[in-house]
Symmetry: C2
Subunit: 143 residues, 2 copies
Amino acid sequence: MAERGFSIGEASERSGVKVTTIRFYENIGLISPPVRTSGNRRQYGEEEVDRLTFIRHARELGFEIDDIRGLLAMTERPNASCQEADRIARHHLKGVNHRISQLTLLGKELQRMIDECGHGRVCDCRVIQTLADHSHCQHHQSD
Amino acid sequence: MAERGFSIGEASERSGVKVTTIRFYENIGLISPPVRTSGNRRQYGEEEVDRLTFIRHARELGFEIDDIRGLLAMTERPNASCQEADRIARHHLKGVNHRISQLTLLGKELQRMIDECGHGRVCDCRVIQTLADHSHCQHHQSD
DNA sequence: CTTGCTCCTCTAGTAGCTGGAGGAGCTAAG
DNA sequence: CTTAGCTCCTCCAGCTACTAGAGGAGCAAG
């Protein structure tokens, strides 16, 4: 029963979360401070490594730290409804889809700008002209 | 010839760049410090407003400040080749397209996660399970 | 005992702003 | 003349999610 546990370096390797990032997560209270060895070193168990892995997956999927706080809290109450998890995920997906459409528009605009560039002098450059152009000034605060 | 010029607030309205952001751009040297009135207030002319508008357009298209520095420098040399503008724009477009493909993958993953959620308890939740799941642990540092 | 690795804490930096404190100018009404 | 209310001024802290570095200590092997 006397598990020895992992050093922060081992926990990092197993979870795929960098050492400095683990400490950062502890600082901001995303994970709780682990026990320490006599030499003041952090010691992690399987559970904590799983938690870190969970966090990494969620970050890779673009969830914000605050979302992850919520998701982690849910894993502590396995019998509760997963409505909240669903809500967080849906909200996030909406954000992702929005960003995709924004970026797609933006990509088209860039492509058009580049295509129209005659590769001559700056004063004839479509890239520069497009940026300077007042004609598509709508002051839209989109994004 | 004695142009009165615009206050920072007017310049902000005309360019669509917020007052605080204009001051910030001045601080980081993206725009040069304007003349001041006797009362120490910044005074801008048409040219400076155009410059701010240019910056706003470029920012809306997602160009980084350093890119914009380069693009602005080019507008100062209208007879130079626009090769560099083209290069900056192409590089940026590449980044945008990359982000789009990343986000698209991510969106699919999220959608799958959400679709598979049975809306029951947390312990059965596909969202939570997916995040905790070790099976797609590749430690890929992609992004 | 020394070398070299990991670990510790603390601080500051990244990008691109945003917001607040605390004060001054400017305009118009009372 | 004074007061109110607006904009403006500077400076500094905070946001996100980390990352990097300084300066020091534990620890294992040779």
